[in-house]
Structure formats: C-alpha cells, structure tokens
C-alpha cells in the first residue's frame, strides 16, 4: 500500500537512504511489489565519515532529487497464485532511470519474487536473496 507521502527505504547503493513516494505510475490504486513509482530523495546515505567530502562520486543522487523507483518489498501482505501469503516488515524500493535500468549497482536486502512476473528480472538478479 504505497501511495502519496509513503516513506520507503532505498536498498541500493545509489546514495539514497529514505525516499518519499509522490506518485504511483500506471495505476489508480496504491502501489505494491513490482510497481513503478515516482519518489523524492529525503535522506542521503553517507558512506563513512571520510567519504563525506567525496560524496559526489559515491552518491549518484542527492537530497531533493525526483526519481523513478520500483517497489521491492511491501508491508501489505500479497497473495501468491498458490494461496500462500507473503509480507515484509518494511516498505523498500530500488531507484531506476527512465528506461527502467537500476541506478545503483548493488543491493542489500531481500526482495519479493513477484518482481520476475513484472519484468524486473534485472533487479531480482542484483538482489542477494529473494522470497
């Protein structure tokens, strides 16, 4: 249930830590796993105290940037075709560019397998684990 003003964790190394949803694309309902959304970067990730001076290299996005993102985890439980239900403890997303490629190169954190059915296999292959 990701909609306007929802705060999500960003789990890639693009430099964003917390982002806020400002729009759900191609849908009139709240977004769930595999949906594309528009986000504003609210908090940047700092890669250690030393790298703060060269954060321009590490962080591909800055605070206040408007980006596209794909939801990879949702608190709202989702039902699989076989009847089992999966839910996560947080809402998380991965930043992507306009053409749909992930901005970051690494991901930390488990993602939902529903991404495969929605043509996000690239994100799924980057993820360390999927449920």
């Amino acid at each position: 249930m990701i909609q306007l003003k929802t705060m999500l964790n960003c789990i890639d190394n693009s430099g964003a830590a917390v982002v806020e949803c400002v729009n759900v694309l191609k849908k009139k309902r709240p977004a769930t796993v595999g949906d594309r959304i528009v986000v504003v970067v609210q908090k940047q990730r700092n890669f250690g105290p030393e790298s703060s001076n060269n954060s321009g290299i590490a962080n591909k996005v800055r605070r206040g940037d408007i980006r596209h993102a794909v939801v990879v985890r949702a608190k709202k439980e989702m039902q699989r075709p076989d009847g089992s239900i999966v839910k996560f403890d947080d809402n998380a997303c991965v930043l992507v560019n306009k053409s749909g490629d992930p901005i970051g190169t690494r991901m930390n954190g488990v993602v939902a397998t529903e991404l495969r059915g929605k043509q996000w296999s690239k994100i799924l292959s980057l993820a360390p684990m999927h449920v």
């Binding site: 089992s84 239900i85 999966v86 839910k87 996560f88 947080d90 954190g109 488990v110 684990m129």
Partner: protein
Amino acid sequence: MATFSPILRQLGCLRSIAKPQSLVSSQIARRSLTTVYTPKQEPVPLPSKLPKSFLSQIPPRQQPTNGRKKLKVYPAPPSSRTVCKDPVAAVTESQLTALDPTGERKALFDYRRNPRSVKVGDILRVTFKNGDPFSGVCLSIRLRGIDTTFLLRNELTRVGVEMWVKVFSPNVESVEIVQRTEKRKRRARLYYMRQPRHDMRSVENIVSNYLRQKSALSGQRGQGGRGRGQKRRR
C-alpha cells in the same frame, strides 16, 4: 380613529351572528322530518344460466371468478438437502483424500488432538515444489479443513518476513520441525512476536545447524528430525 374602530367591529359581529342562526334552525327542521326507515335494497342476483358472451359486460367483481385469474400452482422442487446433507464437509473430505491420502499432513498440524503435532513457537522448515525452502518460527496454526494454514516468521537480511503457507497445498513438498518450543506457549497466536521486544530475530543459524546435523546422519531420517529437534536445545 382609534375610538371608532371598536364600534365598527361590534356591528360586523352582530351581522355575522344573525346570519347563521336562520341556517341552523332550518337544518334542525329538516332533520326532524326524516323519520321513515327504508331498508337497503337487496342486490338482484344474477341469472344462474348466463351465456358466456354476456360475462364480459358485467363488472369483474360479480363475475364467477371474482375478477381473478386462476394461478397454476407448481409443486416444490425436490430438496437437495436429502441428496447431500453437508456438502461443504463432503467437498473437504474428497479434497483431503486427494491431497493428503495418508493423513500424515493432517496429523502433523492437528494440535488439538495430536500431542506430537506442530505447536506454535516451533521452528519449521518448508520446502516447496520449485525447490526454494522457507524456514521460520510458527506464529499461528489456522485449522480450517482443506484451507488449513500456518504462519512462519523469519528475518532475512535483517528484514522481517512472514509467510502464510497452506498445509495441503500441492506446492508444499515437505514440512520439517527444526526445533520444538522449549516451553508450551500459553497463547494460540503469537502475534506479539512481531514486536521488537519479543522478536526472535533470525532463525537461520538454528536451521543451518539442524541441516548440518541431518546431513551428518546421511539424511536418511527424514521423520526422525522431529525427535532430534527436541533434544537439541539452546
């Protein structure tokens, strides 16, 4: 001006009193004259042998059918209750025989009757048909016939993940008890374990430990894992 108005009013009032008095007296006079009682006229009965062509001319109330069409009454359809008294139970039964012919799965989760069944708080490991396993603490068992499910909770990469699994789903290949709960839980649903204070965090260590021990015993005792799980406690 103010002095004249009451006089005018009085005159108008007198006139109005004078007028209806004559009317009232005439009414009383008329009433006193009507003293003869005339009985209500008997309705003329219709001729018994009226040709059918005349029936349409008389009002519908006086027609022999009393203006109503005769409705055809159909008998009630045969009740399906006599055929099958409890169809839901019958469907459940047939589904259970198809999906769980040995009754093993049912016994594994029937915590009300089977003392050796899965209890809430146990650590379970489920293997699916497509090969990927899922393990976690059992937070609740929902006994609903063929729709029986259990809820597993685990922490993967420091994110809590919960999964409801259908017990009799053909996608579920095996359910193993990795570790029994140390003490019987006094709740049927352990939803409080979602709170950070009571959260068990990751159970991956316990599961991998169990798998190592299982492979050391050449993995032949698939069912024996239950007994060993009981012995091995933290």
